[in-house]
């Protein structure tokens, strides 16, 4: 039997596959398609303290091998989440990672406090990287000090694993991973979406009501893999990788580059039944390569020169 379990701080995940925040509703929406207890984790849609309306439509648009979104973090707020969604997620035995967003440092602290007291929260993912809202955590996510401060502050008030989610819209993402580690994070997750835009050339108007949005999907995968690789070399804490994963082989690319776990977002929209296929693919790879523990694969990229082979191409 292959062992797919991985460790993020004090949290042990059944397997490295996590549903990415904002791409899986509050998890309960997908209970009909997938047994949530078979996933490594479920990162629920980004939560503020209060309810939020989000941006007007259009909120998404497809682009080559990707999509832009500017949802604007519409959400029910942390209190309704705890009341209305968490019990159901507990019943479904989901490993719940709550993605939290604040406009101020105090809001992150407050959210962390509230969620630490709630039953059935496995970890906190600090969304300091949403490109779609002005007032949100992105101001923290684009400053090394801001990142350090918000992670330290949350660290102080919770014993839950704390995983800041990093933005790729910076010159050197590894330094943000380092700042997070220094501040006591249990891991970092990356990437959030790339700030981008699309224009309807006939009307000369941006397609998204918010003008700009975040690019996700297979298009960004090679950039995300590179960033995970850089972070892996910069920090000792686990890296959770994501960005365009749509197959087991894509997930393995991240793991080999240095991701202890991976998240899948956009691909779940295309195929809500993807999870069993990804698990099968991982198990199959482990068997073919005679590997026992997937954790042994993390960061094993071999950058030495390559041999040539006598292949009958």
């Amino acid at each position: 039997m292959t062992d797919l379990s991985v460790q993020i701080g004090s949290l042990r995940l059944r397997n490295p596959l996590i549903a990415a925040s904002g791409c899986f509703g509050y998890g309960v929406e997908y209970a009909e398609a997938v047994d949530l207890s078979t996933l490594g984790g479920v990162a629920v849609k980004g939560l503020f303290l209060k309810e939020r309306e989000g941006h007007p439509p259009e909120r998404i648009v497809e682009t080559p091998s990707g999509m832009l979104n500017a949802i604007g973090l519409q959400g029910i707020g942390v209190h309704r989440f705890i009341r209305e969604k968490l019990p159901e997620l507990r019943r479904l035995r989901a490993t719940v990672i709550v993605n939290i967003c604040g406009s101020t440092l105090d809001e992150y602290v407050e959210l962390a406090r509230i969620l630490s007291d709630a039953e059935g929260v496995a970890a906190l993912e600090l969304n300091i990287s949403c490109p779609n809202i002005k007032e949100g955590g992105i101001t923290f996510g684009c400053s090394l000090h801001g990142t350090f401060d918000v992670v330290s502050a949350v660290r102080k008030v919770t014993s839950l694993p704390v995983v800041p989610k990093l933005t790729p819209n910076v010159a050197d993402v590894a330094s943000f991973a380092k700042a997070s580690e220094d501040a006591g994070a249990d891991g970092v997750s990356l990437v959030n979406t790339f700030l981008a835009m699309a224009i309807d050339v006939d009307t000369r108007r941006p397609i998204l009501s918010n003008i700009v949005g975040g690019l996700s999907g297979p298009a960004i995968r090679p950039i995300a893999v590179r960033m995970v690789y850089e972070c892996r070399r910069a920090v000792k804490i686990p890296v959770i990788g994501m960005g365009g994963i749509a197959s087991a082989s894509d997930a393995l690319e991240f793991i080999i580059a240095g991701a202890t776990a991976v998240q899948v977002g956009t691909a779940n929209f295309v195929d809500p039944f993807i999870w069993a296929k990804l698990l099968d693919g991982l198990n199959d790879y482990m068997r073919r390569h005679n590997l026992e523990r997937i954790s042994d694969l993390v960061g094993t990229i071999d950058t030495s020169a390559r041999d040539k082979q006598w292949i009958s191409s």
């Binding site: 899986f24 509703g25 997908y30 009909e32 648009v61 990707g66 295309v270 809500p272």
Partner: protein, 279 residues
């Protein structure tokens, strides 16, 4: 039960240079579909297009007394609808469903008036069948650009569904918008109990809901928002819905009544006309 199937194309019938009806071997979805529900479709291999697209289930197909598939009525506007238009027998189309909230089907003595604009005809074949099965007197108000874009008229008449037509060029029926004959008939039928169903472009839906309300009739409208997932996962497809306790928001400076966004893929695509707030 939610099903995803690589459905074989059984048949592709072109109705015009833009419209086609494509029959897909997706019996499990077809058998489970209620009128007004939709499927998320992905045509072609690879990543172009990347996302699925929503389509109403048009017909549930029977053969030898068993459901053997469903059809979609598609209008060519872009990548996926272009691929559906070009599909040939034996191709496959990935089909996820059934999804969304169906129409509430009324019984006699209530009458059903279905109002379709263009490709908005799609949900009314299954709804028409369901109404006829309940012996509900049914009328289809059907508007299009021209007579050449009015399809399946015989299909509806064969089932005893009365047709009221309008075309923008006046080639068949009233010239202009379908809401004109709708309003005329509502005015005439002052005493009948009528449920108005509508599907088409949003400005049409808004007009239908308004006309229905004016004549104190209930309406159910099926909206078409851009959908990323169809399952409540992405929050792309939201539509503003009137707040239940509007009073508490009184005095707001907005011009639109107090409202909140709901996901039209799981709260809809069918809504009560009076619940929607039009942008």
């Amino acid at each position: 039960m939610l099903v995803d199937v690589e459905a074989r194309v059984i048949r592709n019938t072109r109705l015009s240079s833009d419209y086609n009806v494509i029959a897909l071997a997706a019996p499990d979805i077809a058998a489970a579909t209620a009128p007004g529900q939709f499927v998320m479709v992905k045509s072609g291999r690879g990543r172009d297009p990347l996302l699925r697209r929503p389509f109403s289930v048009f017909e549930v197909l029977w053969s030898n007394g068993r459901v053997d598939g469903l059809s979609l009525l598609s209008k060519r506007v872009g990548v996926t609808t272009g691929m559906l238009f070009d599909s040939v027998e034996g191709d496959t189309v990935s089909c996820l469903g059934p999804l969304g909230q169906p129409f509430a089907v009324v019984d006699p003595p209530a009458e059903a008036w279905m109002v379709a604009g263009g490709v908005g005809l799609a949900p009314f074949a299954t709804l028409g069948d369901a109404l006829v099965a309940r012996k509900t007197t049914t009328t289809l108000f059907y508007g299009a650009r021209s007579g050449a874009e009015l399809f399946y008229l015989d299909w509806f008449t064969a089932r005893g569904i009365r047709l009221v037509l309008a075309t923008e060029d006046g080639s068949i029926g009233d010239r202009g918008r379908i809401t004109v004959p709708l309003e005329r008939e509502l005015r005439r039928a002052a005493s009948a109990e009528v449920m108005v169903y509508a599907c088409g472009p949003e400005p049409m839906l808004e007009a239908v809901a308004r006309v229905a309300a004016t004549f104190k009739r209930q309406s159910q409208v099926s909206v078409e928002r851009v959908m990323g997932c169809g399952m409540g996962g992405c929050y792309s497809c939201v539509i503003p819905v009137r707040d239940a306790h509007a009073a508490q928001h009184a005095g707001s400076e907005r011009t639109r009544p107090p409202h909140h966004y709901v996901r039209s893929c799981i709260a809809g695509p069918v809504f009560r006309g009076e619940d929607l707030v039009w942008d």
